[in-house]
């Protein structure tokens, strides 16, 4: 096993001198991702605040049919504008986000005591118009409720009679568990980091060594090839783990900087959560290192190896995407699925839940098992004579 240690130490030391390798493990995960994260959160919250607090300017078509309604809106601070000729076209072309149209029949229906139709013209599939649309609808409902109450009171009926049920929410979500954006993004970012952190080293120490013609001299040394392969794999895993830990620490220090007040969430990664996440994701690092080494050993050149790495990015994405579109309640069997289980576990740790040891063991065991499988494949590839031939 001395050979393994020698190869490992040499790869770790040599790659410390390689700027590209350091860029991949230190800069990308630990610095770029948290910065991107905080930037996006600030942008999103300021955007949200802006459209929620901005003075609402709404064109109203047919304002003359409901002067009291329009008066109410003006009282509420809405600036009433004259409506364009063709309201639908104006909304479609995004000249305006919301238009209120009061049909001619409004006064008639109103007097007859029937529900008077007021149209709100908007395109809710455009995300920026959803907030003004909600605000307009909210105001119209408030007006309707106010008038309804007055009508009942005039007839001597208590307004509470028309609310036979009062729904009261008992909210058990904690400020931590409300950090939905983080819940979705953090597992994804961490999985990616487990792969990118050691990627450069894996390619450089295998396909790169082949291309630079130093692999053949290396294999002439009296060290079994599986030890050489494993030494390189361990170096890859070390870089990936270092990158992962740095990323996690960076997030720990970045979360307090998030504009959480505006989002109504309180995010922080406790030391316990950091430890738990590291433990849960460590097997992914092994799996990633084994997969990367296998791919790099399959490739005949650096270029070919790099093109495979594009695919590697997809692997940690798939479980995160599934979870994003279809949030599920964690179940024991899910813990046997590598990468998916870590997604769930990271979520549990971030929410501050106590994670069952069975789940943790199942997730770590299944991931390690597949990692060992890939390592065995890589070892077989290293034993082929053709490993040294680059074309």
């Amino acid at each position: 096993m001395n050979g393994l240690g020698t190869v490992y130490r040499k790869e770790v030391r040599e790659n410390l001198r390689d700027r590209r390798s350091l860029f991949n493990s230190v800069l990308l995960g630990p610095i770029l991702f948290p910065v991107l994260f905080i930037g996006l959160a600030y942008f999103a919250s300021s955007k949200q605040q802006e459209s929620a607090e901005k003075v609402l300017e709404v064109p109203v078509a047919g304002a003359e049919y409901a002067p009291n309604l329009v008066g109410f809106l003006e009282q509420q601070g809405v600036i009433i504008q004259s409506a364009p000729q063709d309201p639908e076209a104006a909304v479609k072309s995004q000249d305006v986000q919301v238009i209120i149209r009061i049909p001619e029949a409004f006064a008639e229906q109103w007097k007859a005591g029937k529900p008077a139709v007021v149209e709100v013209i908007a395109d809710p599939s455009r995300r920026e118009s959803s907030i003004p649309m909600q605000r307009v609808e909210g105001l119209l409902h408030a007006y309707g409720a106010q008038i309804g109450q007055l009508r009942l009171q005039l007839r001597g009926v208590s307004p509470t009679l028309r609310s036979p049920i009062m729904v009261k929410e008992v909210d058990l979500s904690t400020p931590q568990s409300r950090g939905m954006l983080v819940m979705i993004m953090l597992p994804y970012v961490l999985m990616i980091t487990a792969f990118t952190g050691g990627m450069h080293l894996a390619i450089d120490s295998t396909a790169g060594e082949k291309e630079r013609k130093s692999l053949e001299p290396l294999l002439i040394n009296p060290v079994p090839r599986w030890q050489i392969m494993l030494g390189k794999m361990c170096a890859t895993a070390t870089y990936a783990f270092a990158s992962l830990s740095l990323t996690l620490l960076a997030f720990r220090f970045a979360f307090p900087l998030l504009p959480t007040g505006a989002l109504g969430v309180d995010l922080n990664l406790s030391a316990k959560a950091v430890g738990g996440i590291l433990l849960a994701v460590a097997p992914v690092v092994v799996l990633a290192a084994a997969m990367l080494t296998t791919l790099a050993a399959l490739a005949k050149s650096l270029r070919e190896a790099q093109s495979y790495m594009g695919l590697v990015f997809m692997i940690p994405m798939i479980p995160s995407l599934i979870f994003m579109v279809n949030p599920m309640k964690p179940e024991t069997w899910m813990m046997a699925i590598p990468m998916f289980s870590q997604n769930l576990l990271i979520g549990e740790f971030v929410r501050g839940e106590t994670v069952s040891l069975l789940w943790l063991a199942l997730s770590m065991g299944s991931t390690l098992l597949i990692g060992i499988g890939f390592a065995a494949v890589a070892a077989t590839l290293f034993n082929r004579p053709s490993i040294v031939f680059s074309n």
């Binding site: 040499k10 630079r212 692999l215 053949e216 040294v388």
Partner: protein, 244 residues
């Protein structure tokens, strides 16, 4: 002492080596001469157990490369055709890495490197990173890392490829020094002058087979030529791929 009997190796349809047999005696320099593509590198790769032979037998000091690969690697010093160095490491670190892989202690490695620095004249660049080294400097580092564990048998695959005159002369002096120190040396080359200047025995390989085998005098006699150069050309059957 190396004994090779009836060696065969094919890559797909290409028969690279077709029934090669020869012997290499201790304390001699044996030249494998042949044009590019004759099968020299493939033969050497089978000797240092990088490739398993399809057929035939190899014994190096009684050991079989297919079964005793680790033991053979300890007795062999190999400068293969590919001589890539680690460019982010110094010449010393490159050599020490191979010493460590041979299980040498760090004290043993550093005293051995001092010896090699002297014999190969590497004082000027031993501490420098190998990025941007000249061909001559690279070959010296490649030889030093192959010799760091004091091997008895030395295999050199086209060592003078790409070297200038000065470096070639230094290399030849070094190879003769190995012989005088009692090592057995196999030198593969396609340069006729090199074998003429260095080798005690010459094995001529063409098309994966042995065309002739003997001392310089024996080859002259066998071919009926006046000069070694003519003898090589006659024995190989063509001038193609050889350098004077």
């Amino acid at each position: 002492m190396i004994k090779v009997t009836n060696l065969h190796k094919s890559f797909g349809k290409v028969k690279a080596v077709r029934g090669i047999s020869f012997e290499v005696r201790d304390g001699e320099i044996t030249g494998l001469l042949g044009p590019n593509g004759a099968g020299k590198t493939t033969t050497l790769r089978m000797l240092y157990s990088l490739l398993p032979p399809d057929e035939g037998e190899i014994r190096i000091d009684g050991l079989d490369p297919t079964r005793d690969a680790m033991a053979i690697k300890n007795t062999l010093g190999v400068v293969p055709d590919s001589r890539g160095l680690y460019t982010r490491m110094s010449a010393r670190e490159n050599i020490a890495y191979f010493g460590e892989l041979h299980g040498m202690t760090s004290r043993d490695i550093s005293s051995r490197i001092e010896e090699l620095v002297k014999t190969l004249d590497m004082e000027d660049f031993i501490e420098r990173r190998t990025e941007g080294f000249s061909q001559g400097q690279r070959v010296k580092v490649a030889i030093a890392r192959a010799m760091v564990h004091r091997p008895q048998t030395v295999l050199l695959d086209e060592p003078s490829n790409g070297l200038d005159v000065m470096s070639t002369r230094a290399l030849r002096r070094y190879i003769l020094g190995l012989k005088n120190a009692g090592h057995s040396v196999i030198l593969s080359t396609h340069i006729m002058q090199e074998v003429a200047a260095l080798c005690d025995r010459i094995i001529i390989i063409a098309n994966g087979q042995i065309a002739a085998d003997g001392s310089a005098g024996e080859l002259l006699e066998k071919s009926g030529c006046e000069t070694l150069e003519d003898a090589f050309v006659r024995l190989i059957g063509s001038e193609e791929g050889l350098l004077a």
